[in-house]
Symmetry: C2
Subunit: 168 residues, 2 copies
């Protein structure tokens, strides 16, 4: 079972908004996210479900990934907001029916949470040693018969640059 | 300072060779390695130096990366052979003159060593949780003023598929 984590694209500066939750993607952020989605599609990726943080910049990112054809379904997942609890996601996942061998899920959220969740899933503790850029992608293999906490494997970590920078 | 680790490309089966050291890259392995090198070049990567394991399949990989223009220099580094010691590399690096802010080095070697070295550099211990495919690439940021062991950061881990699979 493959779990992907994607950080939201570039968003407007904090100063422009009274509520951090309301910050939207910049034009560049939308463009880059769309290109990333198209590239993932070319590589052959399709998600059974996109789970997104309820913050606007994450929801917009999730919508763009859906629009390019990466998935038919989006679910807002409250614990994907900054400071949310991985344990709540793990509990949800184990009851979700998406914990099968062929499933591919993606979580759209924020830093440092996505990096921290990855470290908890793979090494069982947070050391904050992963650099996850905006519109960056993480890929994990989750075990199905034991808890994924501390038992998952990392196969992908990349900023969008490596996937979408132009060919000559 | 950026340190890259690249696993050798697909090699001939063990059965064909009496000495594991002598196994060469298959045609597919050469092709994939060349494409990977060209893609890294497009992204704007250039290495100050390629360090390679002395085993034939690694040396061939290193040569192909040099041929496409990723570096002008190759150095055989004995501890990049299977079972080699990371500490010996760290000692070399700290005396090498390549431990400067703008330097980019690449190590060409084997699994599980490259994954283990990465875990030692980033988290300080080996848990064997990284999936590193043939011609896969790892990218680390190494600190310059303290030991890199347990103090480095991971910014890239990818199989060649994500970098070189054909566009539609």
């Amino acid at each position: 079972m493959e779990l992907y984590l994607i950080r939201h694209g570039n968003a407007e500066e904090r100063g422009e908004y009274s509520q951090d939750e309301e910050r939207t993607l910049t034009e560049t952020g939308q463009e880059k996210t769309k290109k990333l989605g198209q590239r993932l599609l070319e590589i052959g990726i399709h998600f059974d479900l996109i789970l997104t943080s309820p913050l606007v910049r994450a929801e917009q990112t999730a919508e763009l990934l859906k629009e390019v054809g990466l998935s038919e379904k989006i679910l807002r997942f409250p614990d994907l907001k900054p400071g949310g609890k991985l344990e709540n996601w793990v509990n949800w996942w184990q009851e979700s029916g998406y914990n099968k061998d062929h499933n591919k899920l993606v979580l759209v959220g924020h830093q440092p949470d996505l990096g921290n969740w990855t470290e908890l899933l793979v090494w069982g503790k947070v050391a904050s040693k992963l650099i996850v850029k905006k519109a960056g992608v993480i890929g994990l293999k989750l075990p199905l018969k034991i808890t994924p906490l501390g038992n998952s494997e990392l196969f992908l970590l990349t900023s969008p640059k490596w996937l979408i920078s132009q060919r000559n």
